[in-house]
Symmetry: C2
Subunit: 272 residues, 2 copies
């Protein structure tokens, strides 16, 4: 019975659809209920208290939808609300930060890891703590890159403007940590900039830099956790559906497909 | 009695402090109560219904503070909520769009006017309608420039990245309307980019383009309206104070002074 329940995913907006994409690749049979809090997007520039409050609203909505697991797609919400939600809810709750931290430690050779994300995520220090918990000797340098989100939403993914912005941010990072060889994409929007960031990182650092996508790392952890709990959906030929809820319907239809990699189908407007 | 009451100003976030700055220049004796809805910022990418709902919350808070007039600093909120608030409230409510439209018509010689703003403001068609109401023969071309807000908040006001973004947006505008000679800054953040936009507009259009700041135009209208209603504060040597409320206290202290042109003083956190 519970195995047939959906995975609930919430995010501040459309960006979390990159997490849905990763989950669908790893867990194609699972049904997914997605909630994008587009009426209050973004979370990345807001305070811990406000983000925790919004996350609690979102998680409760998903619990009401009968999900078997909650995935916090938003890195800022993972930073500020994971512990709160785990303490309050009776079902498994996953965030993006610990999986991203583990993947980063596994990938580094120099032991120097860079993290890029929103202001909120970077200020929370969550990646720094999560990486230190996995490898106390790793050096972590985190920088906020607020322009990457609007660039991704404009669809300016690999052009002169996007390159100028990426150079500005990565040069600042290189000044602080010239030897880093792993860069964690600590925001749901950043995977769209991956080809550009790969190239600019190589140019700026002068050596290969491995990009770690926290969404992919988290999808792997979600699969392991569902298997461990006996909650993997096992229809031999099922194909999981995606049900999308938003708190405001302004833009998700236009930009969502870029994040999801396909069209979204029906989108339902709800108030939290 | 009422003349001593404050002017209430609300905005989606910190941007409206440019409007406070213009009001303070024109009406130095007036007390101002400012509410920045920083927990739900930005409004610019959200739907008419959501923006109207948030604006109603904000206006009611200001009414509760005993203000004598409400100024909607946010262009998106002016576009979506001015009529609603005027219908519901018993005190004068001013928006930025009609004053900006009047100033633009007064400034143009070619009769070709450009408007830049958020997605919400541009899609609302409000500037186009407001300008047509003043001069039915004016041609208006409006373009959304979503990256200008994060540029202003980063403080990247006049550098290579800001110039590349400005060129991209203004070239698109010039393709549609090569003869425009007035450009309305239809978003509270844009006055910070004014020196850059003046230069890039000249470069892209090849002739002088007059920049119209809706905030300045609106402050002038506010003064006229208060005088007409006998509500101008008349202490011979009073200097109006500014009281600042925000719905989330994440960043306003850091970036606010750039918008206001001075430090903010005490900031009080409220829930709407």
């Amino acid at each position: 019975m519970r195995t047939q329940a959906a995975i609930g995913v919430f995010d501040s907006g459309v960006g979390g659809l990159t997490v849905v994409r990763s989950l669908t690749e790893r867990l194609p049979k699972e049904e997914i209920v997605y909630l994008g809090d587009t009426a209050r997007v973004p979370y990345g520039s807001k305070s811990a208290e406000t983000v925790a409050r919004y996350s609690r609203n979102a998680a409760r909505f998903l619990v009401g939808e009968g999900v078997k697991m909650i995935v916090i797609a938003c890195n800022t919400a993972s930073a500020f609300a994971l512990d709160v939600l785990r303490a309050e809810l009776a079902l498994p709750v996953l965030g993006t930060i610990e999986p991203g931290a583990r993947a980063a430690v596994a990938a580094t050779r120099s032991g120097r890891i860079g993290v890029i994300g929103t202001l909120g995520t970077v200020r929370s220090g969550s990646y720094v703590r999560a990486i230190a918990a996995v490898d106390a000797h790793a050096h972590v340098t985190a920088h906020a890159c607020p322009l990457f989100v609007p660039l991704a939403e404009e669809g300016w993914l690999d052009d002169d403007v996007a390159a100028a912005v990426a150079r500005r941010y990565l040069r600042a990072l290189a000044l602080d940590a010239p030897e880093l060889d792993v860069l964690v994409l600590g925001c749901t929007h950043y995977p769209l900039l991956r080809p550009l960031l790969t190239r600019v990182a190589q140019e700026v650092f002068g050596h290969e830099v491995t990009l770690v996508d926290s969404a992919q790392a988290m999808a792997e952890v979600a699969r392991g956790e569902l298997a461990r709990l006996g909650l993997l959906r096992d229809d031999s030929d099922g194909q999981g559906a995606l049900r999308c809820y938003v708190t405001d319907d302004a833009r998700i239809d236009e930009v969502g497909h870029r994040f999801l990699g396909r069209h979204l189908g029906e989108i339902i407007r709800v108030d939290l």
